[in-house]
């Protein structure tokens, strides 16, 4: 028994020593990636990681980033947050404290991005979230001020809610909308509430406002209530796994209303999981493959060549976010977090594959346009643009 004590404690000491040795290799630029590789949203994390890896590989193939006259390779450190808020916080701690990354890209899901952003803010490290649309990611909820170190690569839910509300009223000519959303997740919650506010302000009526919790599979009770309220449009600001189940159950119950979604739908997995019930549904997105600029077309070709499928909006936004970060690191010239943050603030706009990211001073939210897409014939089809 005594010997095993010694054994156990020496094992512990060795392990700790091993953990400690992994300090920063100062000859490479380390960029951290905090994404949803497992859990509820694996397609989102995979897209993000693929796109960031693609960009990093492209830069490294040319020798690396130019820092102070020399070319330095980029080292990408990937962490998995499992689409869970506490795991996102722990991964952020690991990336920022042990792995000593210069900049953190991600998380994508707002429920993960918000806690990770708190940690980035308190550890004074720049963080860019490619896909998180909830306002709380870049704004401190208690003080109302913008966070210093957190940026995002996309528009916010405030803008998106306005776009979708106007689309429902003007393009779909529908004044009666019902909403079903996941109350336990940040993005759906924010989107549902903002949509309701904007829709009512513009003169529409919300006939039903139903909720469910993450992990629920059976929506018959909520959908029965929605059916009884007779809406023209059912707004579903939820992630792709749930959309498939909800739309199928809704059609089976005899609901014939038009489905409208948010950018949370954007993964192509939704078509694999959804089937016929999704045909004809509209949703808001960050970019469309059909109206691509030449730079975007090149990105799409490269991505498809390497990963065998067309990139979705998460991939495009991640590509842009890491591109922006790399440009700032080059402008800063040193591997120092404060310098990179200053450089990020000094670049007025960045032209990426999703359009131009223009930041106003004092805000971490870029001014960007949205697109409305429709699911037709098993594909995403571009319908309209919406500029801010």
């Amino acid at each position: 028994m005594k010997f095993s004590t010694i054994l156990a404690s020496s094992l512990a000491v060795l392990a700790l020593a091993g953990c400690g040795k992994k300090s920063a290799d100062s000859s490479a630029v380390r960029i951290g990636l905090n994404v949803e590789l497992t859990g509820e949203l694996p397609a989102v994390g995979a897209s993000s990681r693929n796109a960031v890896q693609l960009h990093v590989d492209q830069i490294n193939a040319a020798g690396g980033i130019t820092l102070g006259g020399k070319k330095v390779p980029i080292e990408l450190v990937v962490g998995d947050n499992g689409a869970k808020a506490d795991q996102a916080a722990a991964t952020a701690q690991r990336l920022l404290s042990q792995e000593n990354v210069l900049v953190m890209i991600g998380p994508n899901a707002s429920s993960c991005a918000i806690p990770a952003s708190e940690i980035a803010e308190s550890l004074k490290t720049p963080m860019i979230s490619p896909w998180s649309t909830n306002p709380k990611t870049t704004v401190n909820a208690t003080t109302g001020k913008s966070k210093d170190y957190v940026l995002r690569g996309c528009f916010t839910d405030l803008f998106q809610a306005g776009v979708l509300a106007k689309f429902t009223l003007n393009d779909l000519k529908s004044k009666r909308a019902a909403v079903l959303f996941d109350v336990s997740s940040e993005a759906p919650n924010g989107q549902a509430n903002l949509y309701r506010e904007t829709f009512v302000k513009l003169g529409g009526t919300i006939t039903a406002f139903e909720t469910y919790t993450t992990g629920d599979r059976d929506f018959s009770a909520q959908l029965t209530k929605i059916k009884a309220s007779n809406p023209e449009v059912v707004f579903l600001p939820v992630y792709y796994g749930d959309v498939a189940l909800i739309t199928q159950q809704a059609r089976q119950l005899g609901i014939t209303a038009q489905f409208v979604g948010s950018d949370a739908w954007s993964s192509p997995e939704i078509i694999k999981l959804g089937g016929a019930a999704l045909e004809g549904a509209y949703f808001c997105n960050h970019y469309s493959t059909e109206i691509a600029t030449p730079a975007a077309k090149k990105f799409m070709a490269d991505y498809e060549a390497k990963f065998g499928q067309a990139p979705d909006d998460v991939a495009a936004l991640s590509y842009d976010s890491v591109g922006f970060a790399i440009k700032a690191i080059e402008a800063a010239g040193v591997t120092d977090r404060q310098a990179v943050r200053a450089a990020l603030a000094s670049i007025p706009s960045y032209e990426g594959v999703t359009g131009v990211m223009r930041f106003t001073p004092g805000s971490g939210d870029p001014v960007k346009s949205a697109v409305i897409l429709q699911i037709k014939g098993g594909k995403f089809v571009w319908v309209a643009n919406a500029a801010p």
Binding site: L37, R217, D218, K272
Partner: protein, 291 residues
């Protein structure tokens, strides 16, 4: 009126699935006084087995159902043989922890092999129809019907066949049963097999109704079915069925009347209240303890 009837059908469908899984818990508890925490994951394996089978060979629904039941029966018996039988003499808590561990191993292996949620292909066409203003579909009828058939068959087996009598005898006094010449090990393996088969069937039916399956679907459903088994009186086959339907009814009623986040709170509070007043469940009989 139609609205309530509609919700009642939802409750019965959900309750049937809980009842099928709860039966697995009750059967095993009755014979071994052990809570088989790996059962929820056997349910999940049933759904995935169905997916794998039909993606290789297009099978009609009933053939797939029976094939999956055979697979999960084997899995149940295998878990018993490998993990529980060596621990029959050990403290009961160790067996329970082992069950938890087995469940986690199964769940995480499936997660590692299939991290993405998958779509379950429709094995037969569900046709919606209206009865007295209530929209139902043939899938719901099938689920409720098949569950009812299984439950009645099991009840018949327990009451009338020699295996059922051996099972009930083993629940009463395992030592005496061995002296009577009953092959106890075989009875126990058979129990786990039957429990596994029912869990697998529930997995197939559930994945037809809610066609997106993931590796963690067994966890919450497993715990809920366990609660259902306890409400009805764990160890009691009829109690498991009753508990399943009660839980289904409570869950649907809660979601109808308040936001779905209250559902777990109400269901578990109800469980607590029932246990305070009837500590052995609704149909359970108090066990006398010899001092």
């Amino acid at each position: 009126m139609e609205y309530f009837a509609q919700q009642a059908i939802n409750a019965i469908q959900l309750g049937s699935i809980y009842a099928l899984i709860a039966l697995g818990y009750s059967l095993v508890y009755g014979v071994l006084s052990m809570i088989n925490f790996a059962h929820g994951d056997v349910f999940m394996v049933g759904a995935f087995a169905c997916l794998v089978l039909v993606s290789f060979v297009p099978l009609p629904f009933f053939v797939a159902l029976l094939a999956v039941m055979a697979i999960t029966a084997l899995l149940g018996a295998l878990i018993e043989r490998a993990a529980y039988r060596p621990l029959r003499q050990a403290p009961r808590v160790s067996a329970i922890i082992t069950a938890l561990g087995c469940g986690l191993v199964i769940q995480n292996t499936t997660l590692s092999l299939s991290p993405y949620p998958r779509q379950m292909p429709r094995l037969f066409e569900s046709v919606p129809f209206e009865v007295a203003g209530v929209t139902m579909n043939t899938l719901q009828v099938l689920i409720i019907g098949i569950s009812a058939v299984f439950m009645l068959t099991l009840d018949f087996i327990i009451r009338k066949t020699s295996w059922g009598i051996a099972l009930r005898a083993a629940s009463c006094d395992r030592g005496a049963v061995v002296l009577m010449g009953v092959p106890v090990n075989r009875v126990i393996s058979l129990t786990f097999a039957v429990g596994g088969a029912l869990g697998g069937a529930a997995g197939v039916l559930y994945s037809q109704a809610y066609p997106v399956i993931g590796a963690s679907m067994g966890v919450i459903i497993g715990w809920k079915a366990f609660v259902a088994a306890v409400i009805g009186g764990i160890g009691n086959v009829r109690g498991a069925v009753l508990g399943g339907f009660i839980l289904g009814a409570v869950e649907v009623t809660t979601v109808v009347m308040m936001p779905s986040t209250w559902r777990d709170l109400i269901a578990y509070s109800l469980l607590l209240v029932i246990l305070i007043f009837k500590p052995h469940g609704l149909l359970g009989k108090p066990v006398q303890q010899k001092v």
